[in-house]
Symmetry: C2
Subunit: 323 residues, 2 copies
């Protein structure tokens, strides 16, 4: 990546795609007639819940890890995200046979700790504050010379995430609209760069929980307005846009729509019952926008990036039962 770049180029996304071919799952694109009838349009679900480590995050993380030179890679990678990115980075590092240092708050749920451990991540616990996480990560960088891999504010991450929609539009080449959830914005910005550089008449819409609406407000304002105490079941979307993702979303994304907690849960349940898939709440936000008529999609062909399927099974029954 060059110095004054403001977004990854399409050829960088294409490189990520070529590099990923041997490590990334090409996930299936599924359809569901009964949901199509419900929303009166044709939906194409790009199922990143079936991606390695259970989310699209593996695309960006592995792109970063495999883009390091042998010398760089030797000292390993570090991050202070505790969710899907941490799992994805851990597995990517293990596949390259290098260490992944994961800084996690001491309060992290056991299921996340176990996931990272299962993929071979080396965990350092710290106090549950952003300051403690950043300081602990910095200490590891100083000691081990490990490379910090930010979960979204990194052009190699953004390029990697953009490969999901590249596979989707390769397979379904006449989509009218593409929907992706937005948290830190890595997936949405990568999606937008890919789509707009291939066919700029295709609409790209970000879908965000009402209770974590920083991208919606930031895009409207024209500058980054971070979320304050976001509180949503979509735990992958609690983060706010970064300095690298915001400008892409400001410039290339057509719109951002907000979705309520109930709509998210209804969409999750619908996918579970009709499509026989487990998706995490964050992944249900785009369908939540459709089933609540937040978007005009009648007779359109709509692509949806289903971002992941990692959900604590303890919680799923309450979500599914909650009719």
């Amino acid at each position: 990546m060059t110095k004054n770049q403001i977004r990854p180029t399409f050829s960088q996304i294409k490189e990520a795609y070529e590099q990923g071919k041997t490590v990334v799952h090409r996930t299936p694109v599924l359809t569901c007639n009964s949901i199509n009838q419900m929303v009166q349009s044709q939906l194409f679900f790009k199922c990143e819940n079936f991606q390695k480590t259970g989310s699209f995050k593996f695309r960006g993380a592995s792109n970063c890890v495999f883009s390091l030179s042998d010398k760089q890679a030797l000292s390993g990678v570090v991050t202070h995200s505790s969710g899907n990115h941490a799992a994805a980075l851990s597995l990517s590092a293990r596949m390259r046979n290098i260490p992944a240092y994961i800084v996690m708050p001491s309060t992290a749920p056991n299921v996340k700790v176990e996931a990272v451990r299962g993929y071979g991540g080396i965990i350092t616990f710290c106090q549950p504050t952003l300051k403690a996480r950043e300081e602990t990560a910095q200490k590891i960088i100083n000691e081990k010379h490990a490379h910090l891999i930010h979960p979204y504010n990194n052009y190699n991450i953004i390029a990697g995430q953009g490969t999901a929609v590249l596979e989707l539009i390769e397979e379904i080449n006449d989509l009218d609209i593409i929907l992706a959830p937005v948290g830190g914005g890595g997936l949405l910005s990568g999606t937008a760069v890919t789509v707009k550089s291939q066919k700029d008449t295709v609409q790209v819409i970000g879908c965000e929980p009402e209770n974590a609406d920083d991208a919606f407000r930031s895009k409207k304002a024209g500058y980054i307005i971070p979320s304050e105490n976001p509180d949503t079941i979509a735990d992958g979307l609690l983060t706010s846009l970064g300095t690298k993702t915001f400008p892409i979303i400001r410039d290339l994304v057509d719109d951002i729509v907000l979705v309520s907690e109930t709509e998210i849960m209804n969409a999750m349940r619908l996918v579970f019952e009709r499509m026989k898939m487990v998706i995490e709440p964050s992944a249900a936000v785009p369908l939540g926008a459709l089933i609540s008529d937040k978007l005009e999609v009648k007779d359109k062909k709509v692509g949806i990036i289903v971002s992941g399927g990692n959900i604590d099974t303890k919680n799923i029954s309450s979500i599914i039962k909650n009719k």
Copy 2:
């Protein structure tokens, strides 16, 4: 089909496959590294839980419906199965714009009634005995001249079910073993005919609940021994082999293994947690055989027909939580 035939020929399965191309979903083949590590072999899951109506049954039912002549089709089709076959037959009939008469016991769970209704089936309720179901179906045949489509004891059904594994071996052409659940035997016999006529060194194994082990006992005895009061969570496998499926299973299937209720539930949970898929208990029986070391598969390539994903969401939480 000719009169003295003892099984569908491979070319009849091929015809079913060609005919199905425009109506049947080509379902994805998924893999899961963590489950592979657990069983020390490479598993390839043919995901018929993503098939139309949520199970492989749509393959056989649609093959029957679309094999009828226009004149035959006019009077519609009838069955007295109330599960996945009824849903599959209803949708197949609707796609051909003919009536599907479904005879159901008055005690059928609401979720099954709603599924059949949702696909346009015309339901006639009767007393919950086999006699009442057969008589009611016969009455409809007499009145409407509708064609009885048996859920498994029918060569067009068997040929249709055999198309799932045909797609699987087209995609993964060096499998060593193929596993399918067995209830009435339509799926297992169709699978066996396809596999053995293509490459007879590939093993075909039927997987059956211990608590509904009629296929296991029948194959051992050399004649049909129906189940008496089978009682298993795998509600799709309560039926016993038929006169058309038994000889195929006797002659072409290499072995039948039995799986306990706990193993079935453990397999379901594993697929849910690791593969992010909803599968019904019947579909979990083959994986149940693997995780309990019932089969020697070390370093082998194993295909599994994941038969369906229709489960009452009310029941899933207890199954998933039951660790």
